[in-house]
C-alpha cells in the first residue's frame, strides 16, 4: 500500500499550524525557536514529498531540504546565542520581558 501524496501534505500542514501556533502563543523564547523549527520541518516534508511524487528524477527537492536543514541549524545557533545573552542580562527568557527599546 502506498501512501498518497495528500497525506503527507496534511501532516505537513498540521505540523506547520502547530508551529505557527507555537510561535504566536508561546512566551518562552526557546519554545518559539522550537516552533520555528517545526514550521521549517513542515516545509521540508513538503519539499521531500513533492520531489518523491512529482519529480523523482530531479534533485531539486532534496537539495532544498538540505539547505533548509543548514539554515535551520544556523538559525538555531544564532537564536540560542541571543537567548543566552538576553538571559544573562535579564535573567529571563520570556520575550515580553525583553522590552528595552519599547516606547
Amino acid at each position: 500500500m502506498t501512501i498518497p501524496l495528500w497525506m503527507y501534505l496534511v501532516v505537513a500542514a498540521l505540523l506547520f499550524c502547530i508551529g505557527v501556533y507555537g510561535v504566536l502563543a508561546r512566551r518562552n523564547a526557546v519554545a518559539i525557536l522550537m516552533a520555528i523549527e517545526l514550521m521549517l520541518n513542515a516545509v521540508n516534508i513538503n519539499l521531500v514529498a513533492f520531489w518523491r511524487y512529482i519529480t523523482p528524477q530531479m534533485m531539486n527537492g532534496q537539495a532544498f531540504a538540505a539547505f533548509v536543514f543548514v539554515i535551520a541549524a544556523a538559525e538555531a545557533a544564532v537564536g540560542l546565542a541571543i537567548i543566552i545573552s538576553v538571559y544573562r542580562s535579564r535573567r529571563s527568557v520570556v520575550v515580553d520581558d525583553v522590552n528595552l527599546l519599547r516606547w
Partner: protein, 788 residues
Amino acid sequence: MEINLNDVNILPWLIPAGPLLAFFIITLITNRSKMVPATSHEYGGHHPDYDGMPVHVGSNLGRVASIVVGMVGVVLALIISLNVVGQALSVSHLGEEVFQSSAVWMDTGDTTFNMGVLVDPFTTVMLVMVPIAVLAIFIYSIGYMAHDPRQARFFALISLFAGAMLTLVVADNLLLLFVGWEIMGLCSYMLIGFWFEKESAYKAAIKAFMTTRVADVIMLLGIAYLYAITGTLSFREILYNPEVLEQLATTPAIIFGGSAAALIGVFLIIGTIGKSAQFPLHVWLPDAMEGPTPVSAMIHAAAMVSAGIYAIIRMFPLLTAGADPHHGVFNAPLLLMSVVGAITAIFAATIAVAQNDVKRVLAYSTISQLGFMMAALGIGAYIAAAFHLITHAFFKALLFMASGSVIHGMEHGHHHAHEHGHHGHDEHETHDAHAGHDEHHETADAVFDPQDMMNMGGLRRTMPVTFWTFLIGGFSLAGFPLITAGFWSKDEILADAYYGLTHGYGPHALVFVLLALAAFLTAFYTMRQLGLTFWGEPRTEAARHASLGQGIVSLTMTIPLIMMAFFAITAGFVGVPEEFPIFGAIFSPEHNPFHHFMIETLPLNEATEAYANVPEMHVDAPPFNLIPVATSFLVALGGLYAGWLVYWRRPLQPGEEDPLIRLIGVEVHTTLRNKYYLDELYHAVFIVPSQWFSRAVVSEFIDRGIIDGFLHLIARVSIWIGDLFKVLNTWLIDGVGDGIPELIALFGRWFRRVQTGRVQQYLLFVAIAALLIGIIFAVSTGILQAAG
C-alpha cells in the same frame, strides 16, 4: 602741464617741498624712538617734571639720520629760495612781472578755484628772511636738543613748521595761506607741548591752540565772506583788480554796517591779533615759552607771529579800501590796527620791564614789537612794517637762541657746581655716583630755576660769544642808533607816524607817542636784561660755572648766534632813507632800496585813479625829518642810559631785590610782574564761566537732561515695543511653531500604541494578513470554485 624745473614760475612750488618731505621721511622712516615717554624705564624712569635728559646724540642712528634729513630739507629750501630770490632781483619790475603758476584745485559751482604760487617783491623779501632764520634755528636745535631722546620727533615737527611757513609765504591765494597758517598752529601746539610730561607745558600748548583758534575761526569767516562776494581768493585777482576792490568797498556788510571790505578786513585782523599775539589775545605767547627754546625762536621770530603781519600786508589794499591813511581818511580796520598795535606795543613793553624769566622778557618784547608793526600798518606804513618784520625776525631769533644758550649754560653750570660739591663730600662713592647724583639733581631742581635772571650775573666772562651776540641782538631790539638793524626799521615807523602827525591825523599822533614811549621802555628792559644776565658778579654757583661746554653741542649753538648777529646788524642797511646824513649816501645813493623794491608789491596808482574808494598804494617814503630821527636817538639812548644807571652802574648783588621796585613802587611792580592780572582776569571771565557753563549747562542740562533724556526715552519706547514683540512672539510665533510639532508628537503618542514591541503580535497580524490575502487571492482567481 609741462613741468620744467628751470622755469622760475614753477620753482616756488619746490620751496616748501624740502621741509615737508623731510617731515614725512622722519616721521615714517628715520624716527625710531616714537613717543618715548620720559618716564620710560629705558631712560631710567626720569622725573615727571621733565626738561630734557641726558641721552647722547650718537646713541641712536635714527636720530642722526633724522637730523641729517631735516637739515637737508631746510638747506634745499634755502638753496631754491635764494635761487628764486636771485632771479627775482634781476627782474626790473617784479611787481608787474611776478613769478606765478597755478593749477586747478576744484570747481566750485560757477567758479574754478586755483591753487598756486606767487613770488612778488614781498614774497622775495620773506624768502630771504625765513629760510635763513630757519636754517639757523635748525643748526641750533642740533646742539640744544642733543640731550633729548625725542630729537627726531622734534626735527620732524620743526620741518613741518618750516614747510608750512614757506607754503604760507609762496601761496598765491588766501586759502593756501590759511592752510599754512593752520599747520603752523598745529605745529606750535605740538612743539610748545613738546615736553608734554610737564603740566605747565601741555597747559601752555592747549592755551596757545585755543587762543589762536578763537581768532582763526573769525578769520575763516572773513575768508569765506570774501569768497562769497568776489568768487576768488587769489591775491592778484582781488588786490590788483580795482573793480573788485571798488565793489567790496561799496557793498554794504551783512552785519555791523560799514562796507564788506571793512568787515572782511576786521575779520582778517582779528585772525592776525590771535596769530601775532596782539592785545587782548596775546596771553598764549608768554606761556609758549614752555616749549624748547628753538621753538620759541621759530614761533616768535621766523615763522608764526610773522605770518599774521605777513597776511595783513598781503591783504593791505583790501583793508584800506574806502580809506586813505596817507591823507587822514581812516576806516574801521585801520583804526583797529593802529589802536590795538599801539596799545599792545606799550602794554607789553611795560610788562617786560618787570619779568625775571629771561625768555619771558623776550616774549613780551616780541608782543611789543609786533604791536609796532600792527600800529605801522594801521597808519598805512606797510613798507615800514615789512621792514621791521624782517629785522625783528633776525634779531629776535638771535635773542631767543642766545637766551637758550644762557639757559643751557646755566643748567650746565648748575650741574657742574653741584657735581663738584658732590665729589668733594663723597669721594669714595664714585661707583655709585650716578644714583646719588640723580637724587641730588631732583631735589636741587625744585628750587633752582635756570631761566631766572636773578640767579645769573657775570655770564660775560664764561660765555663771551653768547654775551656779544646777545648784546648785538639786544641793541638791535633797543634800536641803538645807526649801526643796528632795529634802529632803521623802528625809525622808519616813527618817521611815517610823525609825517601823519604833522598833518594833524589823530591815529598817527597816538601811534607816534605810544611807540616812542614803548621804544624807550624797550631799550630800558633790554639793558636790564643784559645787566642782570651778563654784567656784575655771578649771583649763584650755577652762574659762576655756566658755560656751553665743548664740542659739537657748543659749536652748533654758537654758529647760528654769529650768523644771526651778522644779519641783526646788516639787515637794516637795505632800508636807509636816502636823505639820511652820511648813511643815506653810503647805503642808498639813488633811493631807499628796500622801499623801492617793496613798493611794487601793491598795485600801481594809475590803475586805481578812476575809482573813488580805492586809495593810492604807491606812497613815497615820508620826507626826511630830523624830529623822528632825534626821537629815535633819544628814546633808544635814553632807555639804554636809564637801564645802565639802574642795572649796570651798580650791579645787582646776591639776595638783593630788583632796584626797579624802589623806583616805581611795589604795587606797580607787582601789577606789571603779574601782567596786569590779565591771565587771572581771563581765567575769571572766560575760563571759569565756560567751565561752569560746560558743567552746569552742557553737562547737567543738555547732556544729562536733554540728550540723555532723549536717549532714555528712545530706550524706554524700544523696551515697550520689545515687550510687545515678546508677547507676540510667545503667543503667535511660538504658538504656531510649537503647536505643529506638538500635534505631530500627540499623533505619534497615540499611534505608537500600534508598536507593541511584541514580535508574536506582529506575526499574528502577518499571519492574519497572509490569510486574508490568500482568501482574496483564492476567491478572485476562482481556485475555490474549481476545487469546489
